[in-house]
C-alpha cells in the first residue's frame, strides 16, 4: 500500500514540475534559457543539500530545526579562520568540522540526554545563532581568499555549477543509501517503530546519532557554499532557512510521523520549490504573495494525504 501511494506522490510531484515548466515558459519569455535556469539553481541547491540528510532524519522519526543556525555558526568559524589567514582547503575543513560538531551536539542531546529532538534542536538553534551574534555582533567578516569563491560561484562545466553538481551526486548517493542498503531499511524501521526496531537488534541510538551528525555535516557544507557565494559572513546569514529546508522535505512526501518518504520525492520537491520561487520572481510577483503561495502549497501537501487516508 505504501509503495503504491509513494509512487503516486512522486509522479504527482513530477507532473507538478512539468506543469510549472510549461506554465512559466508560456508566461515568461525568459524562463527557458540555459543561463537563466543555471542562475535559478542557486535559489535552492544549498537548502536542497541539507534536505537530503534531514529527510533521513525525519524518516527515522526525529527532526533538526537548528540547521540554519549551524550554517551561521559554521560561517562565523570560517570567517574568523579567514581573518587569521587560513587558506581555502583549511576553510572548507573548518566549515565541515563545525557543522559535524554541531550535529554531534544535537545527536548527543537526543540520544544520551534523551531530550526530544524538537526541544533539543530548538535549544541548539537559539544557542548556535546566539553564539554567532555574540561573536560577530554588528561586524562583518569578509577576508576570504579569492580562491574560496569557487565553491559557491564556480562552474564545473558550462552552465553546471559546482553547487548543482554536488547536489546531483549527493542526491544519487543518498538515494542508493536509503533505498538499496540495509542501513537504509533500518532507518525506515526505526522511524516506523523504534521500540520494535530495538527489540529486533538495531542500535537505534547509534543510527540517530549518526543521522544528526550527518545533518550537521551537510549544514556545514551548505555553510561553505553559501559563504563562498556571498563572499561575506554576517550573523544573520541563512535566517529562516530551517523552515524552508523542512518544507522541502515535507513537500517531498516524507511523513512527519516518520517511517515514510523517498529521496526521489525530496529531489523533486527541491526542484518544484526552486522553480516556483524563481518562476514567480521572474514574473515579479511580490515575495509576500510568493510566501503565501508556498505556505498554501505546504499545507495542501500535508493536509491532502491526511484527508485521503481518512476517506
Amino acid at each position: 500500500m505504501t509503495l503504491v501511494k509513494l509512487m503516486r506522490w512522486e509522479s504527482m510531484l513530477g507532473l507538478v514540475l512539468v506543469a510549472e515548466v510549461v506554465l512559466f515558459s508560456s508566461l515568461s519569455p525568459y524562463f527557458l534559457n540555459v543561463d537563466t535556469l543555471s542562475d535559478a539553481s542557486f535559489n535552492f541547491t544549498e537548502r536542497a543539500l541539507i534536505a537530503l540528510p534531514l529527510a533521513l532524519l525525519i524518516i527515522a522519526g526525529e527532526i533538526d530545526i537548528s540547521v540554519a543556525a549551524i550554517i551561521a555558526l559554521a560561517s562565523v568559524t570560517m570567517g574568523l579562520g579567514a581573518a587569521h589567514g587560513v587558506g581555502t582547503p583549511g576553510l572548507l575543513g573548518l566549515g565541515l568540522a563545525t557543522g559535524l560538531l554541531a550535529g554531534c551536539v544535537n545527536g548527543a542531546l537526543v540520544t544520551v540526554g534523551r531530550v526530544p529532538s524538537i526541544v533539543a534542536t530548538i535549544g541548539t538553534m537559539t544557542l548556535f545563532r546566539g553564539a554567532a551574534y555574540a561573536i560577530l555582533g554588528n561586524r562583518v567578516l569578509k577576508e576570504y581568499p579569492g580562491s574560496f569563491a569557487v565553491f559557491g560561484q564556480g562552474y564545473l562545466a558550462g552552465p553546471v555549477s559546482i553547487e548543482l553538481a554536488l547536489f546531483a551526486v549527493f542526491a544519487l548517493a543518498f538515494g542508493l543509501f536509503l533505498h538499496r542498503t540495509r542501513w537504509g531499511r533500518a532507518i525506515y524501521a526505526i522511524g516506523a517503530n523504534p521500540v520494535a526496531s530495538r527489540f529486533a537488534g538495531l542500535d537505534v541510538n547509534r543510527y540517530k546519532f549518526a543521522l544528526f551528525a550527518l545533518t550537521g555535516l551537510f549544514a556545514g557544507l551548505a555553510a561553505v557554499l553559501l559563504t563562498s557565494r556571498l563572499g561575506s559572513t554576517r550573523p544573520s546569514i541563512a535566517q529562516g532557512w530551517e523552515l524552508e529546508v523542512i518544507g522541502i522535505v515535507i513537500l517531498g512526501g516524507v511523513s512527519v510521523w516518520g517511517g515514510k518518504g523517498t529521496i526521489m520525492g525530496v529531489v523533486l520537491a527541491a526542484l518544484v520549490f526552486g522553480l516556483v520561487t524563481f518562476g514567480l520572481g521572474l514574473m515579479n510577483i511580490p515575495g509576500i504573495v510568493m510566501s503565501i503561495f508556498t505556505g498554501a502549497l505546504l499545507i495542501l501537501v500535508v493536509a491532502v494525504p491526511a484527508w485521503l487516508q481518512r476517506r
Binding site: N43, A149, S232, F278, G287
Partner: protein, 330 residues
C-alpha cells in the same frame, strides 16, 4: 481520480499565481528593477512612488521588487530574477554591502547598469551610489534650521548627539561647526551624548536645559535623540521658549510638530530618493557616464566622486504643512 484532483488543484493555484502578469515585456522601453530592502515597508513604498514618477517622465518602466524579509539571501534571489529578465538597469538599497557584490558583478557582466541608493553596495558591485545627502549638506541644513528658529538668527543652542564614537554623528557635528562660521550670532554651548538610548538622551537633554536657562534651540541629529529632546522640553514646560530641531522621522515627530515643540526638522525624502535613483539608473542604461554630472530631473544634477558616491540633495524640511502626510510613510 484522486491524483487528477490533486494535480488540478495544484495547477489551479499555479495558474492563479500566474494570471494577470502574463504580458510580454514591451520592447524599447528602458526597464529598471528597483529593489527594496524588504517589501511592505512604508519607506520603500514611497521610494516606489518616486521611481514611478521618474519613469513616467522618461518613458521607462519600473519593476519594483524586494524580498519579504530584509536579508541578503532574499535580495540575491530577487536580483537573479531581474538578471534573468535582462532588465537594463538595477537600483538597489542593499541589505548587505558585500554579499550582493558577486551577484551584481554577474549582472554588470551581462550589461546591466547597477546603482545603489539609500544603503550602498560595496564599490566593486555597482556603477554608482546615490546617497540621500552628504555630511556637508546635512550640517548646513541643520544650522540653517537652527538659525531660522532662534529669534533673529541669534542665541545659544546645544546638541544632543548619539555616541561620542559614532562616525556619522561626528562628521555631521564637524560640518555643523564649519557652517557656524558664517553665522556669528549662533553660539554652540554644549554637546551631550545620549548614546541613541531614549532615556539617556532624555536625561542629557534635561541637563542641558537646566545648565543653560537661556537656551534658544535644542538640536539633535539622531532620530532617538530628537524625540527625547522634544519630550524633555515639553516636560520642563519650555514649549515655545526652547525650540527643538535636527534630524528625525516624521512618524515619530508629527505630534511634536503639531504642539509646536519641534516647529521644523529635516530628513531625506524617500519619494525624491526613488525619483532620483530611477533618473540615474535610466540615464546610465541609456549610455550615460557616471564619471560626468548626471541630471536627476526636478532634483537637479548629481556629481559622483571618485568612489562613485553622489549626494542627492539637502535633507528635506518637514513642518506643520507636510508632516502629517509623510508621517504615514515613514
Amino acid at each position: 481520480m484522486t491524483r487528477a484532483t490533486l494535480l488540478s488543484m495544484l495547477c489551479a493555484i499555479l495558474a492563479l499565481a500566474g494570471c494577470g502578469k502574463s504580458e510580454a515585456p514591451r520592447s524599447g522601453a528602458t526597464r529598471v528593477g528597483v529593489v527594496a530592502k524588504s517589501l511592505g515597508n512604508g519607506f520603500f513604498d514611497a521610494v516606489r512612488k518616486g521611481a514611478d514618477e521618474a519613469a513616467k517622465e522618461l518613458g521607462a518602466e519600473v519593476i519594483f521588487t524586494g524580498p519579504t524579509t530584509p536579508t541578503a539571501e532574499g535580495q540575491i534571489e530577487v536580483l537573479n530574477a531581474l538578471i534573468a529578465q535582462r532588465v537594463d538597469a538595477i537600483a538597489v538599497s542593499a541589505n548587505d554591502p558585500d554579499a550582493l557584490v558577486p551577484t551584481l558583478t554577474r549582472a554588470r557582466d551581462r550589461g546591466i547598469k547597477v546603482v545603489s541608493y539609500d544603503s550602498a553596495v560595496a564599490q566593486a558591485g555597482r556603477d554608482a551610489h546615490l546617497a540621500p545627502s552628504s555630511d556637508q549638506l546635512i550640517g548646513e541644513t541643520v544650522i540653517a534650521l537652527t538659525a531660522e528658529l532662534a529669534s533673529e538668527g541669534r542665541g545659544k543652542f546645544a546638541v544632543v548627539s548619539a555616541t561620542p564614537t559614532s562616525t556619522n554623528q561626528n562628521s555631521w557635528l564637524d560640518q555643523m561647526r564649519k557652517a557656524l562660521v558664517a553665522r556669528p550670532g549662533l553660539d554652540l554651548v554644549g554637546v551631550a551624548y545620549g548614546d541613541d538610548v531614549s532615556d539617556k538622551s532624555y536625561r542629557e537633554a534635561v541637563a542641558l536645559l537646566k545648565q543653560h536657562p537661556d537656551l534658544a534651540v535644542l538640536v539633535s541629529i539622531s532620530s532617538i535623540g530628537i524625540v527625547a529632546s522634544a519630550r524633555a522640553v515639553e516636560d520642563q514646560g519650555l514649549t515655545g521658549r526652547v525650540k527643538v530641531t535636527g534630524l528625525g522621522l516624521p512618524s515619530e515627530l508629527a505630534g511634536y510638530v503639531q504642539k509646536g515643540v519641534v516647529p521644523k526638522f529635516a530628513i531625506w525624502n524617500p519619494i525624491d530618493l526613488g525619483y532620483s535613483a530611477m533618473q540615474i539608473a535610466v540615464q546610465l542604461a541609456r549610455g550615460g557616464d557616471a564619471g560626468k554630472p548626471l541630471s536627476m530631473g526636478r532634483m537637479g544634477e548629481v556629481t559622483f566622486a571618485a568612489d562613485g558616491v553622489g549626494a542627492m540633495s539637502k535633507p528635506f524640511v518637514y513642518d506643520a504643512s507636510n508632516v502629517a502626510e509623510f508621517a504615514q510613510i515613514f
